[in-house]
Symmetry: C2
DNA sequence: ATAATCTCTACCGATCTGGTTGGGATTTGG
DNA sequence: CCAAATCCCAACCAGATCGGTAGAGATTAT
């Protein structure tokens, strides 16, 4: 199991923007250069984040990207979900109607447990948490 | 994020074998039929599990597959790792030398947290746990 | 007006996924 | 000893995804 580059880049960009504060829009080129990511690829990643309402973009000269909400109100899980799609591990979670065996399926117990472990790990942390923890080291 | 069919089938097959007990080798065709999986695909899955030492196969008539160890000593995490490869989320976990930014990287905190959440959820449960829980419902 | 910037579409090679096909090797049971 | 059951293995396939590139367009500050 591996986190995609898309997801990794996306989160790093979001954290970068969170650290920049709300003062000004940050151009794509700056994020890409500072974080060492291929700009055209990052562009499409930020597009997804914008479509998901996590990012706000201003066009034209001295435009760029900003967080759409406060860093403290954006959970990491939202970023991951926006980039990776809904993180349903198997078809039958949470929709147990998807499998006729759902009632007797022992494996399903593991996927449920895993699902809540992942959700807990990602939804319990905000971008603000990350910038604060990172600074304090 | 999604569990692959390979992984899902593999775990279900292992649980099935755990429920069968150690009495006799169970032929592939039986597992496939009982669990509703495509037999040739399942075959390659079981091959991986055998190569990883989790499964024992006996050839010839009245042959089949058995767990290589007791169900109580096989963690679900082992099964998943055997099928899915080592589950390192990003290159820098646990090998922080893989990224020069590792020290200052805030995102890395999330991946570490996620990593231990996943490991905890998968390594803390054995096949025996699953069969027992499933039976008791 | 022009330069900076976001927006969008199309393409690309590589890899993974979920299979199928078919032929072999091995061992049991008759 | 032979036939059937069973595991073993390699090759192939279509489709999706990934990571990335290329290039043309729209919009806005200066």
């Amino acid at each position: 199991m591996r986190i995609s580059s898309r997801c990794e880049y996306g989160l790093r960009a979001m954290v970068f923007l969170a650290a920049c504060g709300h003062s000004r829009p940050v151009p794509l080129s700056e994020i890409a250069a500072e974080e060492g990511m291929p700009a055209p690829f990052l562009e499409r990643i930020l597009a997804r984040l914008r479509e998901s309402g996590l990012l706000k973009a201003t066009r034209g000269a001295s435009g760029g990207y900003q967080l759409a909400r406060e860093a403290g109100s954006i959970a990491v899980g939202e970023v991951v979900t926006a980039l990776e799609g809904p993180l349903s591990l198997v078809g039958c979670i949470p929709d147990d109607a998807a499998c006729e065996r759902a009632d007797s399926c022992a494996s399903r117990l593991v996927w449920r447990r895993l699902d809540s472990a992942i959700t807990g790990a990602l939804d319990g942390v905000t971008l603000e948490d990350l910038t604060r923890e990172a600074v304090s080291r």
